[in-house]
Structure formats: structure tokens, C-alpha cells
Symmetry: C2
Subunit: 354 residues, 2 copies
Amino acid sequence: MSLESTFLQACAKQPVNHIPVWYMRQAGRYQPEYRAIREKHSLVEICRIPELCFEVTKLPVKQLGVDAAILFSDIMIPIGAMGLDFEIKESVGPIIASPLRSKADIDNLQVFHPEEKLPYVLKTIELLKDDLSVPLIGFTGAPFTLASYMIEGRPSRNYIRTKQLMWSDKALWTALLDKLGAMIVRYAKAQIAAGAAAIQLFDSWVGNLSVADYREYILPTMKNIFTELKDTGVPLIYFGVQTGELLTSFAQTGATVIGVDWRVPIQAARARLGYHFAVQGNLDPILLFAPWEILEQRTREILDAAMDRPGFIFNLGHGVTHNDPPVAVDTLRRLTKFVHEYTEGKISQTAARV
Amino acid sequence: MSLESTFLQACAKQPVNHIPVWYMRQAGRYQPEYRAIREKHSLVEICRIPELCFEVTKLPVKQLGVDAAILFSDIMIPIGAMGLDFEIKESVGPIIASPLRSKADIDNLQVFHPEEKLPYVLKTIELLKDDLSVPLIGFTGAPFTLASYMIEGRPSRNYIRTKQLMWSDKALWTALLDKLGAMIVRYAKAQIAAGAAAIQLFDSWVGNLSVADYREYILPTMKNIFTELKDTGVPLIYFGVQTGELLTSFAQTGATVIGVDWRVPIQAARARLGYHFAVQGNLDPILLFAPWEILEQRTREILDAAMDRPGFIFNLGHGVTHNDPPVAVDTLRRLTKFVHEYTEGKISQTAARV
């Protein structure tokens, strides 16, 4: 992995030659090669076979020319390792047979040792570390989002059971979040030790909380997690959708890079974050299904708005969306190339003027 | 209807004796009386039988002590009147047999005369006007949200077809939005003529657009609608969820009251709106399922933050949520009473100090 990585430079708010690019869910069903693998293997099987997971993680790097790889995995993998059995149901999502319902259920969750329970994840990272030409981003879900899957037992629209536990038994909620926090720290550290050059915490659904609830029920655990991970020295990316109003609180977590969805203009995000953070985002993923001219225009607008300060990583505002027909691989390749060339041009012009 | 209505006073940013309260979807399945009616009549039947619709609209006013009634209706009613057949499928939502797919489909939509096509809606309003002790809020969906139902044909997670039309054929998109705008103006004016004292435009799903897309593809139509409705003199409420980043644009629409969801702190909403607007909201509707102490605490926080300026209407951040077990009617009654008493106390203290 090059020390000159534009991705790592941008995370550190250092000067770059071009704006780095990667895409959430850059490995997935839009790729014909991935679909071919999925005909023989389930998603969880891919995660559990290091050689296969290695190939799937690498594929978009080769195909798209992105500046970072992200470990191919599923947000449910550590939930399974904590002791909750799950299955991923086609066009529904993750289903947990016995969702968390009691203190005993929460007491039974194991803050596992990744080396014992998820050796295949670490093995995949080791394979990738020796092979990739770009940094590898490790990942895990963040406590609220993991808790919501564990309590609801399936994808939810309103998180009613999760919020009910949170509001009705703060001690139990805190016990659950602290346990998840301890697991996340251990899992992230193991990924970093195996070779991950950055960690992204996906708090995909935390944007369903009011600011007051986030501050009371989530922020303390997030501070603990990022404090524990600080000494690893790697960029710590924190991302969720619909989190515009939470950004002033995100600024207090200790994360070093904040990912935002397409709703939040980058300048508004930076203002709320107090300008101390690298920012990642935020093209509406549905724009990948738009005519190229519109996609290019909106991308240019984001880059123009974001490039007045160092510390920007181009990404989508959420993962590549499954659809039939899928996004064309060529669209993502062309987009990567456009961001690289457009921003390289702008940066060299600015340098010439200085 | 009393000229002294606290609801209308708050909409006009005038002094009030207490903060007015109403709830989105305050008539609905959480009420045993409503469930009893629904055993005999479908939702659409209730909308079409003025005497029944009158009873359903009135029920929460009597039961909860709220300061405004909202016409019981469905967002799909004017879509049906435009010529698109729909059915409302239990636990799925509205389904359109033949969603909009072509210019011809859009050309075929009728900007109907409400007196001809929806006489039962107007009749219901006339019955209510002569009976209610509080103002009646009329309503209709706003163009993006209506268009999304018409194009997707069913509730959507990502609005991919809607956005694709918007981006790929701006002329056709504009034709559709203008047609919806003309319908909305006519429908709202007819409701006002029949006796509605205010109009709320539900743009429930517009918060899925980036600021750039809202400004380019939606704002012009919204300006036209509110300009056309301005002379009616009634409060014009504009509401959507996940619209925090759109508020600076909402401030340019010509709406007079802005509804916000529970994600946006009221003070942040007011700051982005430039302090020119009455604001309505914004308790997380899931808090109705929380222990009373938490519900009361979050309500008090909203009121404390909102009451430093005139022009606030207490509401939920979205409609009362269907759930099993449902919200207790008593919870909403108690909440209304709490808001009235707490704010009356604060206002009389302030008056005493002056």
C-alpha cells in the first residue's frame, strides 16, 4: 500500500493530486462477476471463504479505478458472532430468528475475540493487505444500527421496539450499547492489526433519532469507541443517512472523517462540523441511473463546493442501489475517471496560480 | 369557528393564550371507534360518505381536545379523480394498477373540477364548518409526493422511477408537475370555499431529494401554487419529513407555516427559515409509545425551545404511527392537556413579568 495514497492524504486533510474516490457497496450485484459468484455462493458464504472474499473485495478496485477498497462483508457478521443467529432473506434483508427481548438475551451476547470467532475476516484482510495497491477500509456497524437489527429482528421502518427499549430501560439500553461498543472496538482493532488502513463505522439508521435522543442515548458510547480506537492512528470514518441534524454531535464523537448522505450540502456539513473534519460523500446513489450529463453536473457541483478546503473524499450518499436493470459497471468507472480528471485539473490550476 | 382560534393566531404569529395542538393522522386506527367503522367501511368509502367522514374528522377533536381538525381523507383521492385508478392495500399502501409511464399517460390526466369529481369532499367540509368549534384544516398532497405515487405505482424506498423521469425528461416532468400544481390549486381553493380555514400541503417524500434537485425540479411549481393560493388569505402549511436541508428553499415557496419532522430542532428550523414563518411540529411520533415521563420531557424540551418566538403549533413530526398494540387514545389526550397547561403557565408568567 502506497504511503502516497490520496485516500489517506484526504482523510488527514493533507494536499492531494486529485480527489480520492470509493463507493459504498462498490462490490455487489450490479457487477456481472459478482452475480456469477452469487449463483454458487450465498453472501455469508462469500464472507466466510477468504479467497473468495478477497476476489470480491478486489474486483471493484480493478474495475473502477477507485482509491480505496472496502472489506466485503455484511453488517450482520459480528451480530452472528455475538450469538444471534440470522439469515439474509432475498429482497427482505437480515432476519433474526430470536431477536433481543430481555435482559437475559442481552447478558448472553458475547463480546467475542475476532481471532477465534471471525478468523476468516482477518485472513481475508491479510490476503488483501499483501495484494492491494490502495488502502483497505475495514468496517463494522455502529451500536444503534446493530442494536436496531438485533431488537427489531428484521429491517424496520420506525424502530419502535428499539426506541421503546431505549426510553423505557436506560440501564439495560446502556448495557447493550456498551457491550456493542466493546465488541466494535475489539473487532475494529483486529481488522486494523490484520491490515485495514482505515475503519468505517456504519450507523446507517441512527438518523431516525432526534438530536436530544442521540445525545442522551448514543453519543456517550460513540465517544468511548472512538477514544479507544484513537491510538490505532488510522482514519475513523463515521457514516449514517439522514444525519444532517446530528453533525454537531458527530463532531464530538472523536471520529476523524464524517460521511454524509446526499441530503446535506457539503458546505452545510462542514459548517456544522466546525471545519475540523475530513468529509466523505455524497452523490445521490439514484443519480447512477440518470443520464450521464445530469450525473456529471451534480458531481461537478459537489466537487466545486467541497474543494475549497482540504479533506474531501468523493463517495455516494449511500450504497450502490440494487435495481433491475442494475447500474452499469461502466457508469461507475466513468464517474471515477471524471472525478479524478476534473479535480486533478482544478488542483493543478490552483497550484499554478499560487 | 371562533375568530379567537389559537391555531389561527399561531399561524399568523400573533400572541396566544396557549400553544395550539393538533396531530397528523389524529383520526385513525389507534381509535377504537375508528376501528369499529373500518370493520364496515374501507378507508375510501369513509372518504366518500360525507356523514361518515364528518364523524371521523370530528372524533379526535372531541376525544383529544385539539385546537384544529384536519379533513379525514387520503392523499390518493385527487389522484383517482385525475383518472388513475388505485386501491389501498392493507399493510402495503396505495397501489396504482397503471402507473404513469409515458407522455400520453400524463396528457390523459385530468385537472378536474372538485365540484364535479369530488363533491363528497366538499360536502364533508360544509358539514364540518357548521359544526366544529375549531378550525378545519383542508389538505392535499404536494406535486413531488403525488408524482412519486403516480409513477412508482406503490410506496417506494428510493423513488428511482420518479427521479429517472425528472432527470431524463425535464419538459415532461415539468408538464406533470404543472398539471399537478393546477389541480392542487383548484382542489385547495374548493376546500377553502367550502369552509377549510387552512390548507396543509403534504410533501411527505420530497425530503429524498438533494437541495440541488429540489431547487431545480420542484421549487418553481411550489412557488406557483402558493402564489395562486395567497389571495385566499388562509394559512398555507407545507410539510415533509427529512426536509431539514430544504428549509432555506421552503422559505422561498410562499407557504406561511412550515411543518418539520422530529429530526430538526425547532431553533435550527427557524434559523434556516429566516424567522419569517410560523413553525409546526415536531415530536417523534414513536414517543407516543414511550413511558409518559420521557414523552413529557421531550415535549417540554420542544416547547421550551419553540416558545421564545410567536408562531408555533405543536404537532408530531409525522403522523400517528400504526402499531399493534396501538397508541392509547388517553396518551394523546393527556399530551394535549399537558401542552395546553404547560404553555398557558409559561405564557401567563411571561405576561406577569412584562
